[in-house]
Symmetry: D2
Subunit: 343 residues, 4 copies
């Protein structure tokens, strides 16, 4: 039974609290937040939990094995580092840190301390993304041609970060899990419509080897909510619509066939193929529930998490590069050699 | 009664033929195509029309007042130029020409000859785009923040041009008509998934003054057909879905309100506003029918068309610049000073 | 501050508990259920609440002003009657009782004791139904022509009642609130696909005066979930889709115009009118929250609830008659004179 | 090569004309209509076709092998009878005749003359309905539980018949083709909202053996167009949405499992099963094209058509009975022993 301390009970923290509290392998020993009302609500809901406004109480508590951090991004690195230094395993909210330098520091500290460092890339643990990953790695789509995601709605304008840090992180963490290779370079564009604010609309193109291209459209100022991803492959193509109550994933047996040795440029090179569509039944388990169980299992068995520090770092690297490109109106930014081989 | 000659009876030409033939102000005198079967079909359908395989017969025919050209892009400029030189008015299929140099040549010739030069930007004549133009120019949306279009499907791979020349031209011609200003620069990305082929997927970002941004996603290799445009303004926002049988345009009384003089950066700057949605009844007239009537009227009255050579040139300029940017993986290409003030 | 006792913590009871607990005008003093685990969960969530497995403890508790009943239908009448006899106000789950005779007994007891008797017709308190009621009563639709509802999904087969008692009750309670008159007769059809089971699919037609017709399709065995109501009027028509995340109500300015004095039967009698569509912004308040506040207000002010015993009785009368008609494969059953004038 | 005469060039006749004209096995020799403009249009489109305003010219023409009739319903029987008496094969628009007595007369005449008598139940020849028929007859759905169709829109009010004769005929012809048995009885309800008009909204329930139930909702006065059919079976269920551009048919591997020997009525009798959804690729051939080819083949080979006179009669029988039931507000009308065994 892993004993967990949770830091931050704002928007996401209560979900972590609930899932750890209901987990078979863990219990929540202490929670930390700056606001009394949140601590009181947690204590009322889960009698017996220690509450504190000072994270040091969590780090110093020898009964705490692991710390889950759901605070503003700017505080992730400092809190996670101190937790690791105190010998705790760490689950940190996405994005992992506010800079890749910070992310690297956490990875090093976790390695040195031999502690589990996991990033809360929740979507990776959904039935939909698990199914996509399995289809891609099983070769069902053939060669992957493109990954295109639209994630827009009338959303909360963040004060401290642009929309890439807020929304594109979801897509980048999914791509990090399902795509067969790592992006080599990024070109991004975007603008702010609020004087003095960060970009609220952004477009990212990611270049991979082998003509794989990815694109992400994120927008806090859209009249409708869209969460749709198209994944094109040489054999099949996927439409993943996260707003569908069921049938989130549709697999189309469609595509083109290319005549590789045409006699003439004027001859028809491309054939079209249309077949059935198929929407597989997906696991209904709450993603965070599966993720919490995975975190506990990694701690107990000493195994590496699906969404460890390395994936957290890769996501932060792309976000940093994309923000730099966006400031230069689409200038191509090469990405460093990938941090970690494909799992 | 304007007498029209039509050159090219492939995919689009028969629609021009039908609409000119049914027009109150025009009649079709002659048609030209390289294939006998197409000429025979036209003659059977419209007895009395002269048919020829040589465009010179059309140009030399003194009974022909105007020529409509629906041939491959590479032939537009030459055919249109010769028609103008023969003193004919010209309606040319989109894109107007294969290069902006060619487009400029046509504009000059039309001006010199005092002939109507119109580009078949059909979407501009739809009830939906007419309504959007009227909402934007009437100030209903407030300041325009962004224009975002997705135009994808499993489409015919073109041999001679990339997907921007084929599909993005539609969006660029709509934007040219409805947006309050001209793009200043473009950044585009895209790849080809067919060896030796032109790019079949592309993403264009267009930068305007005043933080207006536009983005176009075109793709010949998508599993589903999507034709959706989001237009964001400071007062209202539009979703234009061209695949909706009715209710193609939905206007959302939604948005943000920005506190312009915040006391502190930590204070909430942005408020959210949600109101009704409204889908106006649109004109049901076929766009090409309205367009043909407009062409006839411009000839008869000597007035400038809504989609004249200048708009055709502006679209070609952006396509050229976007193709150049795409080849350089997103490098920003500044656009020349706009060719023509806003109508 | 009204003190409330809640009987039944199965599927719906916890929602009542939460809403009463969070209500400004009420507090929950005691809860009753037959299962220990449910009582323990309630006590943990709301420390200080008395728990019991015997409803008599609730009735005998002088600190309890009102009782909310969320138990199986067969027990509604007995529990509600005993609560009224003990001088408590009563909010009872829909359907109000298992027979109209029972429903009448409750109405009489509440009148004699001068207590509030309210039926939990939750949908009546949604923003969508409130808007429909206001449009109908404000004459926006003109004369109401029809009300057509489809309420199907792969649902829980009930053991003790047919699908009309389970699902059609929702539609009947909405119709009772929004339609301008009461049904005069009903014809229903349906079958059971489970040996020995109650009907799991049913179709009800309700006849009103003035050619108003209503129809309800309910089905526990549908592959997809549908919750869609069409309401036709002489001036406008409504589509109410409860599964839409926003835009649940769409109002169509469409219809026919009838030439009332045609010269000839062969002449066109009917004209068609198509106009804009409009989706009004709806109140986002949780329906049960509004309902609980309304119950408290009725107790405090001694006013009649929107969904009092009379509306509960009318719904039960139709369900009884429809079940009788269904057993006779559509035989028309006349309904008694309406119990209560339109509010 | 079958020589065809076509009578009636109103709404549907031109489609018959085009498909027969383009058919490999047939040619159109003559057309008949009362209006000069329609005849002129046909002659212009298909030079060489004989035109007449008198159907007798068609019947008397020895060069005509077969007659296609697309006139108002009230004239079907007379024209078809005279065509058969003249020795012609007949394809008659749906509904086959204005009464079952008339329909029987045609069947007898065709049998006596050994001529093909086929009814234009076009939907039967669509890829969607062909696929449904194949799934049902192949046992993919298990036992069929229900068939539920909604066919509503703002449609043309007919002067001479109610909405059942106009719209429900489509569903009845599809059911006649795909369902494993024949209806035994019908209960229908409906009203007219136009003084002196026929019913413009109607609901039909059809009872079959083995608890199979069917229901059809037709409405000329709906704000939106809906064409959706649910078919429930013990193994799988189908949603057939004819307005979907692709994926018209979705097959759900969902349902219930019933415990046949429960120990107790209080025990859970019913289990729920959810699996994948599958949308098969459908034939894209125009239905009328396939139907015309089938008619020609039946004539050439002397075989019985899929939608022969017997199916036309069965549909008319149900429409008659449903209209009678509707007039009596849902009174159950037993249907005669089925006219013809299942094909």
């Amino acid at each position: 039974m892993i004993s967990v301390g949770i830091i931050g009970l704002g928007y996401w923290g209560p979900n972590l609290l609930r899932n750890f509290a209901e987990s078979a392998g863990a219990r929540v020993t202490a929670v930390c937040d700056l606001r009394d009302d949140r601590l009181a609500a947690a204590a009322a809901r889960y009698p017996g939990i220690a509450t504190t406004k000072d994270a040091r109480d969590i780090f110093a508590n020898p009964a705490v094995d692991a710390v889950a951090i759901a605070t503003p991004v700017s505080t992730h690195a400092d809190l996670a580092l101190r937790a690791l230094q105190a010998g705790k395993h760490v689950l940190v909210e996405k994005p992992m840190a506010a800079s890749s330098a910070d992310a690297r520091r956490l990875i090093e500290e976790a390695a040195r301390r031999r502690r589990v460092l996991m990033v809360d890339h929740t979507f990776v643990y959904t039935g939909a993304v698990q199914k996509i990953a399995s289809l891609v790695s099983g070769g069902e789509l053939g060669n992957i041609y493109y990954y295109d995601s639209v994630r827009v709605n009338l959303g909360l304008f963040q004060h401290d970060v642009n929309v890439i840090w807020d929304l594109a992180v979801h897509d980048l963490s999914i791509m990090d899990h399902v795509l067969p290779s790592r992006p080599r370079a990024v070109s991004a564009t975007g603008v702010s419509h609020v004087a003095g604010g960060h970009e609220n609309i952004a477009y990212l193109t990611l270049f991979f080897d082998n003509n794989l291209i990815a694109h992400i459209h994120v927008n806090w100022l859209a009249p409708v909510k869209i969460r749709r991803t198209l994944i094109g492959g040489s054999q099949r193509m996927i439409v993943y619509d996260d707003l569908e109550p069921s049938e989130k994933i549709k697999i189309y047996d469609k595509g083109i066939t290319v005549n590789s040795q045409p006699d003439s440029v004027y001859q028809l090179l491309v054939g079209y193929r249309a077949g059935d569509m198929w929407a597989p039944q997906l696991t209904a388990t709450e993603a965070l529930r599966a993720e919490v169980a995975h975190f506990v299992e990694c701690i107990e068995r000493g195994t590496a998490p699906l969404t460890g520090g390395d994936s957290g770092l890769r996501v932060v690297q792309v976000v940093e590069a994309a923000s730099e490109s966006m400031a230069a109106r689409g200038r191509l930014i090469e990405l460093d050699a990938p941090a970690g081989a494909r799992p």
